[in-house]
């Protein structure tokens, strides 16, 4: 193999499929972070596979521009195990949910974790069956009222991290879909671990179980309810880092750092060989009045299953020679069944034209998603349209000008973005001060002889004036856009919004209240 720098970007991992989860579903944030992290790994796309089972989360492979299998309910770890053993060169991710992974496929998950096959398992935990419209799941808390538990569920809840500790998983982590940076870091860690990585993601189901993780994700309260784990560091939490966890006998307890010295606190070690510390952490649950750990519970190096299997295969071949499958088949008591003339099989006469029954829409829920006006009361509304922000006129030029001219325009007018258009005035690309920094400076000697076309960004994510502020903030916060170009229905640039303008808008409206 030759060493090639891949230079993949997020866009390389975005498939051409329309993402179809409910608006507001936590799955979107997970997808976005996965698409951010993968390009960093330096693994060619064709060596990455996503395998899922059944459920909302299991649509994930469609949206990744990698290989993928939307497989059988609960059996994603099974297919993934087979694939990894057959082709250990692949990086195999398993996408599952609390129902798919812990109920239907509970057994498969447990044994995969036990074997330590090099798979990366992401369990989307929303504490509900979403796809089948809201039945309680293995992780629903007792008392949860759902369609299948109208008087409140009486099952004690499964604790995914405790299960993983119990079967000796070598990498266990927990994060929340709303904590995007932390989540990306957990994906990175999982990707780099050799062996089975298990990441539980707290993910909100807006439709059937909204607010299940509010205590752990609400920015106002979460710092008191969760504790970020850091390797070799004492367990400290709270917005002001003024609380810690101390071991009292065999029970972890919350103490105030005003009264207790930091040296008395429990210290976290990811690489503790036995699972006792990870088990303590897994037992710290909100419903028991403890902060819930977020981060890497456990990360230890142990022999990887597929390597040992392959060693055994090599050894067996060495000792006994390469086998012959056909010979193996025929060596036992086998016979050939002769073809009987009219082998017409009993058909019930149905089918033929391939008409597939259409799934009915549950009328009770139609419209629920879309009438969901923001429940909290921000002083500005994320549904404000971008035209209310008074976007500035964009600086526009023909895409045929030179790099030198483009830079001159940005320089003279002291603006950050130049929209480049074709002969019909339609958007062809953009050229920004960021491009000057990242691509041009020091790389191009004759600016006037170089067309700006070679350096502009095409496939621009532009918005329209009646798109929402939420959409702009989304691009600016997750994808770090510093300018957003607005186009009309004919794709002609009509406005530009800088992050400064958006920040001012937020603050101005904030001051008015």
């Amino acid at each position: 193999m030759t060493e090639v720098t891949l230079n993949l970007t997020r866009k390389d991992f975005v498939s051409d499929q329309m993402v179809r989860w409910c608006p507001g579903c936590g799955d979107y944030a997970i997808l976005a972070q996965m698409q951010r992290v993968l390009p960093e790994l330096g693994i060619p796309k064709e060596d990455i596979v996503f395998i899922s089972g059944i459920g909302c989360s299991s649509r994930f492979p469609y949206y990744m521009d990698t290989y993928g299998i939307h497989s059988i309910h609960g059996r994603a770890p099974t297919l993934a195990s087979g694939l990894k053993l057959t082709n250990p060169n692949l990086q195999v991710w398993v996408i599952t949910g609390d129902g798919d992974g812990l109920s239907i496929g509970g057994n498969h998950l447990i044994h995969t974790l036990r074997r330590n096959i090099d798979l990366k398992i992401i369990l989307f935990n929303n504490r509900i069956y979403g796809l089948t419209k809201g039945q309680y799941s293995p992780t629903s808390l007792p008392g949860t009222k759902t369609k299948s538990s109208p008087m409140g569920s009486i099952d004690p809840a499964f604790n995914p991290t405790a299960v993983a500790v119990g079967v000796g998983a070598t990498f266990i982590a927990r994060t929340a879909a709303t904590d995007v940076k932390h989540m990306a870091e957990m994906f990175r860690r999982a990707a780099h671990h050799k062996g089975t990585s298990f990441v539980e993601v707290y993910q909100n189901c807006l439709i059937f179980n909204d607010g299940a993780w509010d205590y752990a994700t609400n920015p106002k309260t979460k710092h008191e309810n969760i504790i970020y784990l850091e390797d070799h560091k004492p367990l400290i939490f709270g917005k002001n880092k003024d609380k810690g966890i101390r071991l009292n006998g065999i029970h972890p307890e919350v103490v105030s750092l005003d009264e207790v010295d930091e040296s008395e606190l429990m210290v976290h070690y990811e690489d503790m060989p036995d699972g006792s510390l990870s088990y303590f952490l897994s037992q710290m649950r909100h419903e028991r009045g403890m902060p819930e750990p977020m981060g890497v519970f456990r990360c230890v190096d142990e022999p990887v299953y597929e390597e040992e299997v392959l060693q055994q295969i090599d050894l067996a071949i060495e000792q006994k020679g390469k086998g012959d499958l056909q010979q193996l088949f025929y060596q036992a008591d086998t016979w050939v069944v002769e073809d009987e003339s009219s082998g017409q099989n009993g058909s019930n006469g149905q089918g033929g034209n391939g008409s597939v029954p259409t799934l009915g829409v549950d009328e009770e829920y139609v419209g629920v998603v879309f009438n969901d006006e923001a429940s909290s009361e921000p002083y500005f509304s994320p549904t404000d349209t971008l035209s209310t922000l008074n976007p500035r006129q964009p600086l526009i030029a023909s895409q045929d000008i030179s790099l030198g001219e483009a830079i001159q325009k940005l320089h003279n007018l002291d603006v950050g973005l130049l929209a480049l258009v074709d002969d019909n005035g339609k958007l062809a690309g953009v050229f920004t001060e960021g491009d000057v920094l990242r691509k041009v400076a020091g790389n191009v000697t004759d600016l006037d002889a170089t067309p700006v076309k070679d350096f502009m960004t095409t496939n621009v994510t532009a918005l329209k004036e009646d798109d929402t502020l939420a959409q702009a903030i989304h691009l600016m916060s997750i994808h770090k856009f510093r300018h957003i170009l607005l186009v009309d229905d004919d794709n002609r640039p009509v406005g530009v919004l800088s992050s400064r303008r958006v920040a001012h808008y937020i603050q101005d409206n904030f001051a008015e209240n």
Partner: protein, 155 residues
Amino acid sequence: MGQKYDLQHERVKHLDLTQYSQVESGTTVGETVNKMRAEHRNCALVTQKGKLVGIFTDRDVLHKVVSSPDAWNKPVDEVMTPNPFTVTEDDKAETALLEMNKRHFRNVPVLDSNGHVVGNLTHYALIKFYADQFPEALYNLPPNPNQISDSRVGG
């Protein structure tokens, strides 16, 4: 209560201040630009033994570097803005952001009580702060802005 209450009670250090590269005084412009590229940052804070001496941004690249090739091998100190306006990590976030707006800055270095650089206050920090307040409304949007779903669709 509400948001006003929140921002007034946040300190600068509670915001995301990670949007900067850091270089030592005397580093060449070329090396500085390459570091910014590698770290995907638009702003470099120039320090001397941890103390801030200047700031260098993509705006400086646009105005002072890209069209003058000589600049590439000069020390960054010659093109940076020396002694920039700063805030400290324990300042109130609201006050710091208002100050930043008033002065039309896009980058405001953040210092700790010993005067060491600990971050860079940007508009991104404010936008990120607000996005974190409404994660479900803002993070969980489809990647394609013009996507319209006319029905609820699951797996």
